[in-house]
Amino acid sequence: MKQGTFPVLKTQELQLGYQSKKGTAVVSGLVDFELNTGELVAVIGPNGVGKSTLLRTLAGVQSPLSGTILLNQKKLNSLSAKALASHLSIVLTEKIPAGNLTASELIALGRQPYTNWIGTLSDNDLTVISDVIKSLDLESIKDKSCYEMSDGQLQRVMIGRALAQDTELIILDEPTSHLDIYHKASIFKLLRTIAHETSKAILFSSHEIDLAIQLCDKILVMQQDHCDFGDPCTLIEKGSFKSLFPSDLITFDTQTGSFRIQK
């Protein structure tokens, strides 16, 4: 039911940072960018450049120093926590405290914004949950507790929980850390499939630049002094990845679209 794409998220002259008594610590100057439905977008950049700050700000956890964020044409800070919950879902790196939750219980918690005062799941909720379980191929582990799952399985379940929340935008913070290369690739593939088939917008931070170049529709490259935003091919031509890391150790090979280590 794709009806053309429209912008889900849009930033205008965004300034990120932390305000403290000692003054303001500003995170690198950001370009304006927008996310459309059905797009998979990665945020990459070296450690400490402000990827997490950006994601936290976009998710409404902290406020920007200046500028506006538009979520579905509405200003992010004008939305209540409840309204936000039906537009935006998140997947974090932190561990779930309740290890005894089963996969299906965890996914069901994604329906919380829609359930009544005591959290009864309606028929519609149950349909959404079983659809998510089916589409993510979680049938075999749906009664498994979190503590019994591998990191890869748990990450799929957490993505399932975000899917069950049924939002236009999903933001993920480093969804592939702790995973081996196969599971990294499979999570990337999964996110791509979700974005393209359900026309959701998915934004995530990652250190897997090679995979991002191959599988993402657009990439936001954050660096100390500037940012670039665009589709992977354009960014390679522009040389955005070349200046990402000091070239005495690793260089970017424009031909293959990957990094090489200087021996």
Binding site: Q112, I118, Q165
Partner: protein
């Protein structure tokens, strides 16, 4: 069934032997030829059993809430320093009075309850103030524990200077007791506990959301700050009123939620909240019955029983299940 059994057993045992048929006929409202027995049952044993039920249910519920709230299996109803505050209030009244001298006359049950509730209320107030300043829930946990340390230190200092009789009275209070409540006091107790339970039922959905941690809870549209205040308030009135009416009862609040999770095998609070209330009431009735058993003429301190029953249960859970989770 277990609950009814424990209740009947609890009422049947005491320092005066009453035949089982007589107890049944008194409980069912029938006439008896023995007014003394009827008096003992209705004015002493029934209030005591009811107190045990309320104490067990309230402590277990607030323990469950604190474990979910602090994401910590070792949390209990008293982690926020509620019982410490109550102890300090009572210590100040009993020991402080004796240190200064002269005021030690006013130490009836009612004044003890007032001192205990004032103490726990003041601690609750400071926790609320701290909660507005501190965003981190774990910091709140540590601050609660620190309140406990300050109190026990103050109690030590006071008891060093206090007179023997006052010290004994304080120690007796700290043993805990189910048996001192009149029907009027019970009525107040029931009302307070009911408010706590109703608020907990309203909070069930939020408690389930909190299983994911505060950040996810927020992203699911939950007002974390408001829920935090609500949960602190609920445990405070539950644990605070128990301490005021029955003394600081150890271990029930920590052990019962874990026991219940083992039986029901679910982290879902829609099942856990009623289950914990029931299990807590049963366990407290059993503990109180055990406290009656040995001497016949006198009863053991109920606090010793709850610890003797509670601690091995927790150890057994850890050794057998190898994990203590929620």
């Amino acid at each position: 069934m277990l609950f009814l059994g424990a209740l009947t057993l609890n009422v049947s045992l005491g320092s005066v032997h009453i035949p089982f048929e007589n107890i049944l006929s008194i409980l069912s409202g029938g006439a008896t030829d023995n007014p003394t027995q009827e008096y003992i049952i209705t004015q002493y044993r029934l209030p005591k059993a009811l107190t045990a039920i309320l104490v067990g249910a309230a402590l277990s519920l607030s323990g469950l809430i604190m474990q979910t709230f602090f994401r910590n299996p070792l949390a209990g109803p008293f982690v926020l320093g509620i019982s410490s505050g109550a102890s300090l209030g009572v210590a100040l009244l009993l020991l402080g009075g004796s240190v200064i001298g002269g005021i030690s006359a006013v130490t009836s049950g009612a004044s003890l309850a007032i001192a205990a509730s004032t103490g726990s209320f003041l601690v609750l107030l400071s926790i609320m103030v701290v909660a507005t300043r501190v965003r981190d829930t774990m910091a709140l946990l540590i601050i609660g524990l620190m309140f406990g340390s300050i109190t026990s230190a103050t109690v030590s200092v006071l008891s060093y200077f206090a007179r023997m009789e006052s010290l004994q009275q304080y120690i007796f209070w700290s043993f805990g007791s189910m048996g001192d409540l009149s029907w009027e006091e019970l009525r107040i107790f029931i009302i307070i506990i009911s408010i706590g339970i109703i608020m907990s039922i309203i909070a069930i959905k939020s408690l389930n959301t909190l299983l994911l941690g505060e950040n996810y809870a927020k992203s699911l549209g939950m007002n974390v700050t408001r829920i935090r205040y609500a949960l602190i308030f609920i445990t405070s009135i539950l644990a605070g009123s128990v301490t005021a009416f029955a003394g600081p009862i150890a271990f029930i609040g920590l052990a019962v939620p874990h026991l219940t999770r083992q039986v029901f095998r679910t982290p879902n609070h829609r099942i856990l909240v009623p289950a914990v209330l029931l299990c807590g009431a049963i366990l407290m009735l059993i503990c109180d019955t055990l406290a009656q058993l040995p001497g016949y003429a006198f009863s053991l301190p109920v606090n010793a029983i709850t610890s003797i029953v509670g601690a091995p249960v927790v150890i057994w859970l850890l050794v057998r299940k190898k994990r203590m989770m929620f």
